[in-house]
Amino acid sequence: MIRFDAVNKRFPNGTTAVHDLTLEMPEGGVTVLVGSSGCGKTTTLRMINRMVEPTSGTIRLGGKDVLTQDAADLRRGIGYVIQQSGLFPHRTVLDNIATVPLLLGWGRRKARTRAAELLETVGLTAEAGRRYPHQLSGGQQQRVGVARALAADPPVLLMDEPFGAVDPVVRTQLQDELLRLQKDLNKTIVFVTHDIDEAVRLGDRIAVFRTGGHLVQCAAPAELLARPADGFVAGFLGAERELKLLSLTTLAEVPVERARVVREGEAPPRAGDGGPCLVVSARNEPLGWLDPEPGAPEVPSPVRPLRDTDSLLAALNESIASPTGLIVRVDAEGALTGVTARETIHEHAGRRHQEAARAARKAQEAREGNGRQDQGEETREGGEGPEAREHREAGSRKSADAVPPSPAAPAASAPGTSTPKTPGGAG
């Protein structure tokens, strides 16, 4: 676990990068630091491995003050991934990955064997290991960056906008890959990004920073989305905040209804007999909607079937595109289980949102004590009078205290998996 205690960082030119930061980053979880540029998130990250030294306060890693340890030794025990990968242009991919094992004195052969193993882990071929970084695509380079950070199997990974320089498609792939790896490896990951969608996707906890190095709110994604602490956080989360919340819930609890089905090759339904039918293959796989009405296209319009592990957001999205307003649902093997109506999804989404808000309120109340007012109101007043500032700082500190989610607050518990994180208690 990483623990910041009243940490300040002022640079010699007078700018405050981090202001009175108290924050816990739980072991085996992904803590995402978000905020616009210049908000101190990268400085916060770099203080963990002493690339930046705090002006005051303590940072503990696994209970030990990082400042009492030899910087180089400390860094060898912490994986580090940066934007545009920061690979060594003069070393082959394999030797890049072997960097830390070699520093730790594993010997060339053992280090190379380990590096070759990791190439496979991050989805690269052995042939790529003999290349130089500039001969790889941006996405491949980023994979090498991750492999290099994992080489000595450090318990902690620091990732500074690692996927910032690749295109959106590759970025999604890399995010999926990271979540897949994290499921097996259970590293304590600190991840810096300015992309809130990335934060929601990857984070078990999200810490939102504001310019001047203030931590505004630190909470599980569902809690953050359901109850942003103030206008700044709400603004940062964006207008599609509620939809993002839906991306955290799976379709599993939404009821399935029977579908009107016609088998491929069988006689199509007659006109005027109750609207479009779902065409399925011999193995019960949905192929498309067929409208028997005259004038409708004679080939089935395509469907994108959804599994129970898909998110409510995906379901909402599909229901908009579907000609019937019905989404098609399949089991893990791709066989049809039934359909769900647009209305049902919409109703479920609304209910889900209210539950998340309720759970978030409970979680916040549990942390702050019942006497406390909604701190969002206080923080919104951005007056720079000393009193207002003091107030706000008190608020930030409070919300920064990362209390483990209580069982009474299901929305605050989010397992870090590649599927949307399902808070329990939805019905």
């Binding site: 860094r75 060898r76 025990g77 920061g86 690979l87 960097t99």
Partner: protein, 226 residues
């Protein structure tokens, strides 16, 4: 002007000795120059205020006429090979120092940061990351310094050394152009061969700089064919 080929074949042994002596003076100067400028360049690169001073100093040394340098050195080291080598070394510094500093500047900040962040100590970072990445720019300096030294050795004829330069004084004094022509051709050849060898050395030492021009798209196609 006619070249008497007979003279050349008669003096083949002398020409070889002079060529080797010429080369030895130039190479020693470049090696010494490297030994001096590497630590100074690292210092200039790390300590900002020293940078201007050291680079300025090397410039000033460069502006001193070469004959003056040899004359100034006479009381110290006399009419010896040492004087020649010291004089030449002074001139290599301006190129080697500047190029080494610029080479270190050219190391990608991200690579240096990654090395430090992964727990590489400063000396190891310098030797295994910074200097290798600075090598192309340093080697460009070495090539210039080498060619420059090879052409400058002749000036040391005034203090009784000067390798192939002795052929020029010999030719002028006797109004006999053949040794002059031979000296010019041999100096040129020496410079060309030395430069070609340095290019080869750099090619071997910097495998990552080959096929820089290839774009990722082109590679993918190549890989597909392979």
């Amino acid at each position: 002007m006619t070249v008497e080929w007979a003279w050349i074949s008669d003096h083949a042994g002398d020409l070889t000795t002079l060529t080797l002596s010429h080369l030895q003076a130039a190479l020693t100067a470049v090696l010494l120059g490297l030994l001096i400028s590497l630590p100074l360049a690292v210092l200039a690169h790390r300590v900002r205020p020293l940078r201007g001073f050291l680079l300025g100093l090397s410039n000033v040394l460069f502006t001193i006429p070469s004959i003056a340098v040899f004359v100034l050195l006479l009381p110290v080291s006399g009419l010896t090979r040492t004087t020649t080598v010291i004089g030449l070394t002074v001139y290599t510094l301006v190129v080697l120092l500047r190029n080494t500093v610029e080479g270190l500047d050219s190391v990608p900040a991200k690579a240096r940061e990654a090395a430090v962040a992964m727990g590489t100590r400063p000396l190891r970072t310098l030797l295994t990351v910074e200097l290798p990445l600075a090598l192309p720019v340093i080697m460009a300096g070495v090539r210039i310094a080498t060619v420059m030294s090879i052409s400058l050795v002749s000036v040391a004829t005034y203090i009784g050394d000067g390798g192939l330069g002795q052929l020029f004084t010999d030719g002028f004094q006797r109004d006999f152009p053949t040794p002059v022509a031979a000296g010019i051709v041999l100096t040129l050849l020496l410079a060309l061969v030395a430069d070609a060898l340095l290019v080869a050395v750099q090619y071997v030492l910097t495998p990552w700089t080959r096929d820089r021009h290839r774009r990722p798209g082109q590679q993918r196609r190549t890989r597909g064919r392979a």
